[in-house]
């Protein structure tokens, strides 16, 4: 099955954004064994969009287009689709009612232009929007099929996962791809690559790939077989060997994030967590509470960005704040003890460091102290994180989450980076 992706939006042609929708869709289609043969990008122009659809339908079995489904005047993909396949647009009463209801629910007046989102090419199907108001559209044209999806990545991705990928996987027939991502934290990409180098060179199906980013390393195994079960059976022994070699730096697999793994460990052990944050400004708490159900184990985080608040809220001694200062082992330990007592938590994590771009006193950007306090455990470690402000914060959070993961699993707690 040959597929083509058509990106629609003048912002793509002006270079304001990269066509990450095409990248995401391409990757997902590859996983189910659909060959992507072309990408096109056109602006918000009825004729050029219609021409792009014509060309794509003439050479591909399936066309997936993104963008131009919104309520404003420059959203003309619906009109272009109807024109390209030579049918009228018909207003769908169910969608119309849903749009009206949505506005009524939030008590806002509905501009009439919103109803354009209820227009469907005659003979076409609709993909319901879980969020947003614009539904996706599906039309059969001869032996080809065209899907038109919203340009907002999260809306597009939901429709792909809910409907487009399952439909195409069924149509693509008995060759499929399965893959598994093994997620590692607290270990360098080059070290991971070294540990599995012979497997990387010798294994062609499954293949092995490495991806580093966001303070972690992923090892992706991808197998091609007649069925998903067969492909997964090919992955299982290789995955076990890769995990054995990397050891306890492996924290999980696939879509489960480090904060989800920590949440699961906290929930199953019945323990509660509180944090004290300085350089991350609340981001650690935000990540922990991004997991639905976090209120079962997370009590809160005292974000203390000033020395006075570290003293007043967390009880960091004034002499510590003066010397060795707020980016120190002593300060991190006192912050964690303070948060544990303030929230009456079983376990507390603290983070303090220099996020840059300026040094924080004597601490160069990238130096971060992390502390964990629990019954019978008082552990601190320093790391040196690379990159800019947001990358340093991300690495700090990963190291803090890894510390509590190791504590809850009874694994050895890592010491400070050697350079510190």
């Amino acid at each position: 099955m040959r597929a083509e992706i058509v990106g629609i939006g003048t912002e793509l042609l002006l270079g304001e954004i990269a066509n990450t929708n095409a990248q995401w869709i391409s990757g997902r289609l590859a996983e189910i064994g659909v060959d992507v043969v072309h990408h096109q990008v056109v602006g918000d122009n009825v004729e050029r969009i219609a021409d792009a659809f014509h060309l794509a339908l003439s050479r591909s079995d399936v066309v997936i287009a993104t963008g131009g489904l919104g309520p404003t005047q420059d959203d003309v993909t619906r009109e272009a689709l109807a024109s390209a396949i030579g049918v009228r647009l018909v207003r769908d009463r169910t969608i119309e009612e849903a749009i009206r209801a949505r506005f009524a629910r939030v008590g806002r007046e509905m501009p009439e232009s919103n109803l354009r989102q209820a227009d469907v090419p005659e003979g076409g199907r609709v993909i319901a929007a879980r969020r947003g108001t614009a539904p996706g559209l599906v039309c059969e044209v001869g032996s080809s099929r065209i899907y038109v999806l919203p340009g907002v990545p999260v809306e597009m991705q939901e429709m792909m996962e809910d409907q487009v990928l399952p439909e195409l996987a069924r149509a693509a027939g008995p060759s499929t791809i399965a893959s598994r991502a093994i997620r590692c934290v607290g270990i360098a990409e080059s070290r991971v690559a070294e540990l599995v180098d012979d497997l990387f060179r010798e294994s062609t199906n499954p293949t092995i790939a490495f991806l580093a980013g966001g303070g972690e390393v992923r090892v992706r195994l991808t197998a091609k077989a007649r069925t998903r079960e067969e492909a997964e059976a090919m992955i299982a022994p290789l995955a076990a060997e890769v995990e054995r070699r990397i050891g306890d730096s492996v924290y999980g697999s696939d879509a489960e994030s480090l904060e989800e793994v920590v949440g699961r460990l906290l929930a199953s052990s019945g323990r509660t967590l509180a944090c004290a944050e300085s350089l991350t400004g609340g981001e650690l708490g935000a990540r922990i509470t991004s997991v639905p159900g976090a209120s079962a184990y997370f009590l809160g985080s005292a974000v203390c960005y000033s020395p006075a608040s570290k003293r007043d809220l967390l009880g960091v001694p004034a002499h510590v704040l003066e010397e060795p200062g707020s980016v120190s082992r002593e300060c991190a330990a006192a912050m964690a003890r303070g948060a544990r007592s303030l929230y009456r938590a079983d376990v507390a994590l603290a983070l303090t460091g220099a996020a840059g771009p300026e040094p924080h006193g004597a601490a160069e950007p990238g130096l971060v102290w992390i502390a964990l306090e629990a019954d019978g455990v008082s552990h601190q470690r320093a790391i040196r994180a690379p990159g800019d402000r947001s990358m340093i914060r991300r690495w700090a959070e990963q190291a803090a989450l890894d510390l509590i993961r190791r504590h809850l699993r009874g694994l050895p707690l890592p010491e400070s980076d050697r350079v510190v």
Copy 2:
């Protein structure tokens, strides 16, 4: 002058990388007034690359292709170019010598396949490589011109800066593009579109476009003129009119985020801020502290995810937590008062609500109470945010930041959404 960008490489079609070359080239061409009308992406396949070149040359004045110039067997762009324009490849002796010399210098044996990089379509020109071995190629085809550049971004960018952009700027004549984004918060995209509908329909230069996302709406004005100053002078009166119509929902322009605007207002007024967060889990503090220099005005945020911590840290009365509960006007107000006193801040913001997916007591997901406390000001409002957990949190933060923006600028503070 109409331009088209052709990306070549199977890795693009597999979704392994995004087509950031097309984004970069598009942005640079816009700056010199060249209209990019299409992007295409094809794999490393002679016929399909040749077809893409044919199509591009048939509808564009200038084609810029990237990728497939390397020394390995899958690099076939040279052959495809020669085939598309119907000429032979001729080995360029100067390039051949340069390649041989390069290998001799590092003392490595040269695989013969490297000499393919010295092949040039008959009648074509060469763009010298400052690094790497693959030169770029330029061919004139009828009234069109095609540039073929390496896919490695830094090599491509050097050839663009050194040769392609200066050549095209001369050919495009005295014409350039400037654009401005007007950023709005607390107003629906469709309402913005309605307010400027006649301008949208009547103004062709500058053009107007809308983009919604992240709890805000952007209106982009783009003008084409002989010089940047002229283009900016064309934008200025239209921007003023658009801003006048949208009114105080306009918070800023271009790359400046809402948290930066709030930071600037706090810094210039010498006031300090503290927060109390429930549903956002620390994300509001994280956004405020993502701005370098935030320690000048931000003291901290008390993230209180449990009822006990709302009572113990922030002094929310126990009877309020029981009835009307933690998602209420009374609780939000008490949280803001608590944070203001705890951190001894001039202004405090509080956020409490139901982020979903489950209701929070009687509160349906999306219901959020926001409170602001300052000298002589005690204001609370409720909003109903759409979408999933992360979208609800984002909308809550935008509404909170907008509240303090309005307070610091002396603008009227909005009341609750009507349905609440």
